[in-house]
Structures are given as C-alpha cells and as structure tokens.
Symmetry: C2
Subunit: 408 residues, 2 copies
C-alpha cells in the first residue's frame, strides 16, 4: 500500500476551497479567527464529536445538519467556544444563515464549529463582517488551506496540515486535513478541531463507518492534559471528484482508503501532541503483546497521560518506574510481571525494564536519547498479540504559564 | 458529637511510642529516613492498600502479617519504595526480622512500608544500623510522633500529624495519625502513607469495616496529579487501652468513633492535598445535589483533578468554564443543565455559574477571593441529594520542577 505526502492540506483533494480571515472575534488584529471550507459539490460527510456532557452549541447544529449525511461547507471560529454561552444556539444558527447567503448554499449544508473560551456570550457582528470576507477569499490552492489552518488556531504555535495521495483502482485520490490543538486534549478527542477532505467517492454511511474505525485508534489516543474538551470535532467531507466507484467495505480500495486515512490521522496526532501546550517533546507510546485491543489502547494512553512521567520526560530523566506505575493503574486483566520497556529517539534506544524489573542501561546514553524532541516508549506486555499507539507530550513550565492566565 | 484536637499525633492515644532516625537509606544526612511505631500491647489492625498492579514488596508482607487481624509495630522507610526492586521481598522480610529482634516481638506482628524511588535495589545495611537506633529512641510523647512524621517525608514540605479526643460511653478516647504525601496522589490513595493509632477497643473485622467506610470518602478523594502510587498504605492500630467495650456496628459509640476517624482523615486529606508537590493552594470541592454517592464523589474528584482547572487556580483565574468542562466529562447519568457553581475562600464567595451558564460576578472580587491559599469550590448538580468532597491543589511551576528532576 503506497501513499505519498503532498502539499495543499484540505485543498489538496479535488473540489475544495478554503479561506481564513480576521473579523474581530479576537481582539488581536494579527490573528485570524474565522475559517470557511467550501466544497464545489455537495459532499458525503461524517463526523465524531466530544463525549463531554457539556458541549458547544455548534455541535448540536452540526448533528442536525449532518442527519442526511451530506454537507457542503464548514464554518469555524476561534476565540470563543460558544459553549455555556447565553443565546449560543441562536447565534450558531444565525452564522449558518450568514454563510448560506454568502456561499449560495442551503443553511442545512453548513457545519459550524467554535473553539476558544467557554461561557462568554458571542455577538453576530464579527461574523456578519467576516463571513462575506472569507467567502470572497476562498482559494482552491495551498494558500487557502494554510489560511484556514491559521484561523482555527488557539494556543497552537503553528498551523497543522497534512495531505496524502494514493490510488483507488488506478485513479489518483487524495485526503487532506487541517487541525488545531493544543490544550484540553484527551480521550474522545480534545479541544481538537480536525477537518478532513477527500475526493474519493464514499457513501455517507460508509464514510462514517471508516471514521468510526480510525478515530478510536488515533484521535482518541492523544492526551495533552487529561481534559476532554467541550467542542472536539472531527469532520470528513468526500467530494467524489476523483471518480472512483463508491467504496464498499471488504474491498481493496476500502482498505487502501482506511489505511490512508489512518496515515493522515496519525500524522495529525503527532502534530497535535507535539504542539501540546508548552510542550518541548512529542511522546509516542507503542504497546505490543497486549491481551486485547482495549487493554493495548488503555495502557498506551495511561503512559502518555501520567503527569509524573510527562514531567520526567521534560527533565530527560529515564524514570521507567513511573512508566511501570502508569501501566499498573490501567484497568484491564493482565499480569504486570511480563512487562518490558524500551525508550528510544533518533539518538538511539535503551532497554530499561525487563519483566517489570530494572534492566541495566547507561544513564549517560539515556540522557542523550531523552534530549531529543521526539521520544518513543515501547511497552511489551508479554501476554498477547494486540497492539496500539498513543501520543502525548511532556509537562513543562510553559503549560502552567499558558493555562494559569489563559483568559488574561 | 464532640471531638477536640489534641497534640501528640500517633502518640496521643494510650499505648503507642514512635521514633524516627537517619540511617543512610538517603544520602542526605540531615533527613530522617526510618521510622518505627510500636504499641505497648498487641493491637487489632486494619489496612487499605494501593490498587496499582505494580506495588511495593512490603505491601505483600503487610497483607500476610495482617491475615490474623493483629500487629504490634510499623516499620517505615523513605528514600526507596522497594518496588520493582531485585530481591525486594527478601529484603522486606529481613527488615521485619531485624525489627522483631530489636523490639522483642514476633516478625509476624511487624508491618513494613516503603516510599521513595521505584526500581532501585536496596541493601539491608542501613536497616541493620537504623532499626536498633530507632528502637532505642522510641518515645511515648509528642517528640516520638514528630520524629516518625519527619522520617516518612519525601517531597513533603512539612510533617503531617493530627489527633483528636472524644468519649466512648463516657471514657476519653483518642485517634492519632501521621502521613506523608505529596506527589503521585490520586484514586485509591497515593504515594500516601498514613498511619493511625487509637486506644479504642475494636475487634479487627469491625476496625477494617470502619476503615473501609472512611477511606473511599476521604483518602480516595484526594488527587495531586492523577497518578496512583505503587505503595499507598493506610494502617490503623487499635490498642484497646482506653477501656471501652469493644465497638459494635449500629451503636452510638461506633458512630462516634467513625465520625472521629472521618474527622482525622479529612484533616489529613487537607494537609496532604495542600502540601501537594509545588502547590500554593488547597482546593476543596464540595458536591451537593447529586443523584447518587458515586456520582457526587466522581464529580468532586473530576473537578480537583482537572489540570486545566488546577492551572487556572494557580493563576487565580475564576475560569468556571473549566469546572463545567470537568464536570461534563465525569461518567454518570445526570443532566448538566441544572449545575450551579460557587467559588469561595475566607475572603468571600462568588456565584459564578447558574444552570450551566454564566452568572454575573465581579472579576475584581473573584481575583481577591482566589488569591487566598484555601479555595472552596461548591458544585450543586440540582438533581438529587447525595453529597461528597474531594481535595486537590493547584498546578504550578514547582510541580514541574520537582518532578522533572526528582532522581537527580
């Protein structure tokens, strides 16, 4: 199975234009705060949302607009989450009406999303200015995707994009994505907004099925701080413009598409976790030898979620006892005594724990390996064949600084 | 029901002596690292331990020695957790033999405990020197309790003790405690060692029953960082020397004793959470109006465990959206729309969230209230009558610093 990275983010697949503008939802004029992604044709659409009981008003509207399985545009703002906000539902609906007018689409084909502070009322005025401006700026090229990726950022330090190309029965096909993190990232997604596009032809229910397979293995396996956001959304629009026969489960094309989507999703997970608030290091935990998939996922996620281990990684300290500790409090029925642990980076690999006990290694070598900005943790549970990955980041002074005065 | 605080910690009840010495398990000569608590008579004993699959070797020995429900001494070291450590079981047994010889007791009546770094081998040599020294220093007065409280400290900034006096059928009775925190504190206890003594007469099974009631409401409701330690232990020894008729469930004396034990446990929870690693503020969350006790406990704990909320408290930021968010991702069947939240300290109280939406308050007043070092968060779920508390602390630069280079 071959897929190669290409430029262009969400505009890489055929039939998508995007834009990002500043319209005044944020006070900082230098920061874009409104994005539109518009498809040339009505798209099959699928989405996954936060499991938090508290959730943004736009998520309710999204669900309603996606009931028929189709959509043609995504409208996103940063700066205000429109969550626990007075009049938030009415505001989200009004923004869809504005976008419908500006884009010449039915309001029911627009999917709204918001990210930012919770509990503060929004006004329609910035949208009334920003939506027509963004509609006028829509661009089918890489600049469009980049502008949209910039507009959805909150505390992210850089825009996040990815696109791959592969073939479905000989036809070139693409998947593109933009995302924003970077705090409040944990189970069942994050203050994570992730918008993906593809020119593959896929029926809505098949598309939702693929997304439902990929999200638990990827986006649900990220944690920056253990907090599950109120506004997490992953959306995937399929234009069908690559001209393949619509995907059917069980076929080679279906498997190729699912693998390519997983590739894009994993790349975005690494981007999101590595740019976690205040992070200096990306942590990728790979669990093998687990008795079942649920245990493999839970163990991988427990390791990268442990604040003690995250702090140790900031200090480049090979404190594997904290890894064992985090494995040990994971629910699941397995015998801890077979657990082995390796730490690695591009500077090398060390075997630090054999059968739940110390394995001799050089602390000097460990210090060199852990100075790198991408650290791999390999845990083998030695009691089965299930495997999973999870992505996190170190816990740093800057995380505290960013979140100690986020609103001020 | 009246109980009053008294001095003396674990030596406040009749029949207990304690000591703490430096014997070389730690390199720092100024830090005591070995404690002994010895009862004058064989005591009914009860204990609760960590639920982590990885646990210290001493915990296995503790369980074996407590099978008959009785014990007469507790032996504790700091500086090394004796967990995932080669030869750890044999070492723990050997320390009991040394203590048995020094104290003139059967080894099976000694309960060993260890706290400190995981995965490093220990040697018996410091114990061979320290145990006789501690036995010779045993003191029935407040100095004995203080020395033991000091010897079990790891990153704690101060020793933790508490004792209360009350009456059982007219006879004065006492409960005393010492504890250590202060990181890796979360569900099902912590790197928390907590030793309690009483001169009440209680049969072992009744004592264990009371402890099993009190621990879930108190020590299991503390979180400093979400990590459940490998060595958590709560132990309670009852000498019976106050001369009461042994406690029986359903009687007034039983209720009095359980309430006094809860009082001591809550006081220690506040001490432990307030002295969490790097903490500048104690957070106490009180949940009312919950549909059931499990939900009340889960919501309270979710709030004080949220790293985003903890960081906001460090910044004295009344970011109630993060409280709502943490309530919202708590498992449990309740309608978030009735949730109300108040923040308070000795400087005042503000009503910040009414029915899951913003309630007007003064940011200036909020800033003054949140400058205090003890912050109360009151959450009313508005859908029942169950209530619970949980205790945590803010997330600070110093937490990161302490845990970024703990071993160095």
């Amino acid at each position: 199975m071959a897929y190669q990275s290409v430029a262009g983010g969400i505009c890489a697949p055929k039939g998508f234009a995007a834009a990002g503008v500043h319209c005044g939802i944020r006070h900082n004029n230098a920061k874009k705060d409104l994005a539109i992604i518009r498809a040339d044709v009505r798209c099959a659409a699928a989405a996954c949302y936060t499991t938090n009981k508290v959730h943004g008003h736009p998520i309710d509207i999204d669900r309603e607009h996606l009931k028929d399985g189709y959509a043609q545009a995504i409208l996103v703002n940063s700066g205000n989450a429109n969550t626990c906000a007075p009049g938030g539902r009415e505001l989200a609906l009004a923004t869809c009406d504005l976008a419908a007018a500006a884009l010449g689409l039915p309001a029911g084909d627009i999917l709204p999303s918001s990210t930012g502070v919770i509990g503060q009322a929004m006004t329609l005025e910035p949208f009334a200015r920003g939506i027509p401006a963004a509609a006028a700026a829509l661009d089918h090229g890489p600049a469009g995707s980049l502008a949209a990726a910039e507009a959805i950022m909150t505390t992210d330090t850089h825009p996040k994009q990815k696109a791959v190309e592969f073939t479905l029965s000989g036809r070139p096909c693409r998947i593109g994505a933009i995302a924003k993190g970077s705090g409040m990232i944990h189970p069942n997604m994050a203050t994570m907004l992730l918008f993906m596009t593809t020119d593959a032809a896929v029926a809505p229910d098949v598309l939702q099925g693929i997304l439902n397979e990929v999200v638990p293995a990827t986006f649900n396996q990220i944690s920056v701080d253990g907090d599950t956001s109120t506004n997490d959304t992953v959306t995937l629009l399929a234009s069908g413009l690559c001209g393949n026969a619509p995907l059917t489960p069980g076929t080679a094309d279906y498997a190729t598409f699912a693998a390519a989507l997983t590739e894009v999703a994993e790349a975005m997970c690494r981007e999101l976790a590595g740019d976690g608030e205040g992070a200096t290091k990306l942590l990728e935990c790979t669990v093998t030898g687990a008795p079942d998939l649920a245990t493999a996922r839970a163990v991988a996620k427990s390791v990268i979620s442990s604040t003690l281990f995250k702090a140790a990684m900031f200090g480049a300290d090979a404190n594997w006892g904290r890894i064992l500790c985090a494995i040990g409090y994971t629910p699941g029925d397995f015998d801890i005594r077979h657990t082995c642990v390796w730490l690695k980076s591009k500077a090398g690999e060390i075997y630090v724990c054999e059968n739940a006990a110390h394995h001799p290694y050089s602390e000097e070598e460990a210090a060199v390996i852990l100075q790198e900005d991408e650290i791999g943790i390999h845990v083998d549970l030695g009691c089965g064949s299930a495997a999973a990955k999870a992505w996190g980041c170190d816990l740093t002074y800057d995380y505290v600084k960013i979140n100690g005065d986020y609103r001020t």
